[in-house]
């Protein structure tokens, strides 16, 4: 019987030969991502219930990222609880401050993500790791606690939706624009409870960084997971990043696997996109919205705070000045170092940007770039809900790093293609 890649991974994790959408399975968990907002609560729950054990201290990756470095006393307390626990439980892969970075950028970079595995995390954007042909999904603190203690979690096998990315991205158009287009088409609940599988020729020209931007936003369409098949590009990234355990299992969707729906996107025709407030589905092509005045530009996050994103932004800012507050946040210390070594910091500095340490920071309205009432921010993040980056009366416009950089220069939504040869 034919299966999709998602079904195959879940079947294997439950020790079954075959699963179908709707089946409830008990999955064995291969990797758990823990951060500073949702994990301290899970730790307290485990302590309170006296089931304070860790199923496998090598399969848990811990990084404070949301409010790190601690933004206030309360977040310092969260960090302390996380730190005490990680040390007490001898968590092997613990990234304290100095090594800490935005979780979904850090885990693949540090070689913790392998194809064919089941990965969970106490964070909705855990779906990012699906770019590596893995099943990966976000959960809350109670599920996290249960998984930390038992190494297992139940899942209902999702039906799969296929997204065929046809054609070729033109200059100035990126994977962020593709996913904003897909979400604009199906809506923020268009893939609720579903697996979003991305295929097609346009992927062949996307780096792993670019692919992660796509799977990162699967949750913004309500998806349970986003997933992209394994190919040479995946292999090369893994060859460069996997450290201790280098073996993994590659699953591929069968050619006759069943999909609930198929959506084709012609990437050749795409323009840079901007998602208007207050939903990620508010995507419009830049030609329909260029000129809208902004107060801030934010370049960072697990969606677009990787080295490739910073290079794209820097290429546009080189030799130019920004017209509005512009905040650049490399997602991990490695990315930070690489950006510095490549001279990108000079470009950002000369353009008038402010650079921060790796953190989620303002992406979720934590700190380091909060908006006042009435302000508008063009942002490379993934969510533009009411109050997401500050005042409930502020507005967030989601876009690619190129669009955020071009808009920073003009002080208004701008077409990045003007700044490219």
């Amino acid at each position: 019987m034919s299966m999709t890649i998602t079904e195959k991974i879940l079947a294997a994790s439950a020790g079954k030969n075959k699963v179908e959408p709707g089946d409830v399975i008990d999955a064995k968990i291969d990797c758990i991502m823990c951060h500073d907002v949702t994990t301290p609560a899970a730790i307290s729950m485990l302590k309170a219930k006296a089931v304070d054990t860790v199923f496998d201290s090598e399969k848990i990756v811990v990084t404070p990222d949301h409010f790190q470095p601690a933004k206030d006393i309360k977040s310092a307390e969260l960090h302390k609880r996380l730190d005490d626990w990680a040390k007490e439980k001898k968590i092997k892969n613990y990234y304290p401050i100095g090594k800490a970075g935005v979780c979904h950028a850090l885990l693949p970079e540090q070689g913790h993500i392998r194809p064919g595995e089941v990965i969970i995390g106490g964070d909705s954007h855990t779906c990012t790791y699906g770019a590596f042909a893995a099943f990966s999904t976000g959960i809350g603190s109670t599920d996290l606690a249960a998984a930390i203690a038992t190494g297992k979690l139940w899942f209902r096998v999702p039906a799969s939706m296929k997204f065929v990315l046809n054609g070729k991205l033109s200059t100035g158009v990126y994977s962020k624009d593709v996913i904003l287009e897909a979400i604009a088409k199906i809506g923020t609940d268009g893939a609720r409870y579903k697996a979003m599988e991305f295929v097609g020729p346009a992927l062949k020209e996307m780096s792993m960084e670019a692919r992660m931007t796509i799977t990162n936003m699967a949750i913004e369409a309500g998806g349970k997971n986003g997933i992209i098949g394994f190919d040479d590009i995946t292999k090369q990234y893994l060859d460069e990043h996997l450290k201790d355990k280098k073996e993994y299992t590659v699953y591929q969707s069968d050619p006759d696997a069943k999909y609930e729906s198929v959506l084709e996107i012609d990437c050749t025709k795409l323009e840079p996109m901007v998602a208007f407030p207050h939903l990620p589905s508010g995507g419009k092509p830049i030609s329909d919205c260029a000129g809208l005045k902004m107060n801030q530009s934010y370049i960072g996050s697990c969606t677009n705070g990787r080295i490739e994103d910073l290079r794209i932004a820097a290429a546009i800012m080189k030799g130019r000045k920004v017209a509005i507050r512009t905040i650049v946040v490399p997602a991990t210390p490695e990315i930070w170092k690489q950006a510095m070594d490549e001279g990108l910091f000079d470009v950002f500095y000369s353009a008038g940007c402010v650079l921060s340490a790796p953190t989620c920071g303002a992406c979720l309205g934590g700190f380091m770039g909060i908006l006042a009432a009435g302000e508008k921010c063009v942002s490379t993040t993934n969510r533009n809900f009411v109050g997401r980056m500050g005042s409930p009366k502020s507005e967030v416009y989601l876009a690619s790093p190129a669009t955020a950089a071009a808009s920073a220069i003009e002080g208004k939504l701008a077409d990045c293609r003007k700044y490219m040869k």
Partner: protein
């Protein structure tokens, strides 16, 4: 007695239920003081213990923060009745021992201020104000068992 607070809106998200700026604590009582703040600053004042929230599609979309459920529980909300729920929020509700009630025409059959009573196991909402009984599909048995146990961790412990 349970009063319905109706929000005729789809996609009421976790950032509205509990804004991220308050996520530096996981204390339910503290979170409760900001419950629904970015949607309705009056909510905490209006909501009496056991009251229900009634809403449209995709309630609880967005972040995986269980803080959203804790804030609702801390504010003593009895249940959320929505046309449907976002996946992680729905799962978090059950895990915390909190009822998500799925009702296709929720915002049409329940008016703001209606007095209601819910029989979770039978799947019946008694709208006392309108003198009507409305049926909904109860949760599967395993989920009701988790809620009856007061959440997933108690459930795991009880099974041991």
């Amino acid at each position: 007695m349970s009063i319905a607070h109706v929000y005729k809106r789809d996609h009421i998200n976790t950032d509205e239920i509990i804004p991220a700026r308050y996520l530096n604590t996981d204390n339910a009582a503290e979170l409760a003081t900001h419950c629904m703040e970015d949607l309705d600053t009056e909510f905490v004042k209006k909501c009496k213990p056991g009251d229900c929230i009634v809403a449209g599609d995709d309630f609880g979309c967005g972040s995986s923060r269980e803080h959203a459920v804790w804030a609702l529980q801390g504010a003593k909300v009895g249940a959320v009745i929505a046309k449907n729920f976002a996946r992680i929020f729905y799962r978090n509700c059950i895990n915390c021992g909190f009822y998500p009630v799925e009702l296709a025409n929720a915002t049409e059959v329940i008016k703001d201020g209606d007095e209601i009573e819910i029989d979770y196991k039978k799947g019946i909402i008694n709208n006392k104000t309108q003198k009507k009984e409305i049926a909904f599909k109860p949760l599967p048995d395993f989920a009701i068992e988790i809620i009856d146990d007061g959440g997933l961790l108690n459930n795991i412990k009880n099974k041991k």
